[in-house]
Amino acid sequence: MIRLFALLMGALFGAGLYVAGMTDPAKVQSFLDITGHWDPSLIFVMGAGIPVAAMGYWLMRSRGETLLHQPLLDLTASAIDRPLVMGSVLFGLGWGLGGFCPGPGLASLLLQPTTAGMFVLAMVVGMLGHDRLIKS
């Protein structure tokens, strides 16, 4: 059951990225291009996505348990600390540079194997490099 839910979640997420055009790096860069030909479309992705996600969160909280009887969200960090700020700065620079964030990079793998493959491979190196060398 967990696997079915997870597969469904992944498929919905992948479909959403594809439909919204987030799998086109130019679309993402145009959203960030406020000093040029700005395309505000991606505001609508967040504007629709956040309230729907918030409903799921609210339902989880008000029920006090999850449908699959898993523990509720176990997040520990609460402060805006240095790694959060530094990491977000670096991520944003990369996001603007390539027009890919992690989801669209993975979601583009089968349709644009060369470009998305290069991005994902470099992302893997960056992630493992961070986890093994910086935070170890």
């Binding site: 997870a6 997420f13 990225l17 729907v52 990369g94 996001w95 583009s108």
Partner: protein
């Protein structure tokens, strides 16, 4: 330069939000791609290997959609050297900052997490700076 497409953006955003809502409601988890993928790289697929099945759906579905109902959007990527550099920055940055556009931008914003609001403001900000530099300093963006 791309066209303004609010309807497909909102439909896509709704689907992404639905995925995140199920993540909270059914699994009690944050549907953050850098977290799911990063943990998987370190051999942690989550309970019931849900991370692995999520990634299969995420990677497979766009290809299914493309075959059945191709989207109106194209695919234009920067030069390979920029894509590789971008991948490195995104990899290090998302692991250091504990999240990306999905985990912070959608899931975290949805529960009004102060960390996620801060992260989202910061990464959109540095993304805007990067694109402005690409456009005005290097003339890479049309």
């Amino acid at each position: 330069m791309t066209e303004f497409t609010p309807i497909s953006a909102a439909v896509g955003g709704g689907l992404i939000g639905l995925s995140a809502a199920i993540g909270y409601l059914a699994l009690g988890k944050v549907t953050g791609i850098s977290g799911i993928f990063g943990r998987a790289l370190n051999g942690d697929m989550g309970f019931g290997q849900w991370g692995l099945f999520f990634l299969i759906g995420l990677i497979g579905m766009p290809a299914v959609m493309h075959a059945l109902a191709p989207s109106e959007h194209g695919f234009t990527a920067p030069a390979p050297v920029l894509v590789v550099l971008a991948g490195l920055l995104v990899g290090v940055g998302t692991r250091m900052g504990s999240g990306c556009t999905s985990g912070h931008g959608i899931c975290g914003m949805a529960r009004l997490s102060i960390r996620s609001v801060a992260a989202t403001v910061i990464f959109v900000g540095s993304g805007v700076v990067m694109v402005a530099v690409l456009r005005h300093v290097f003339g890479v963006i049309a």
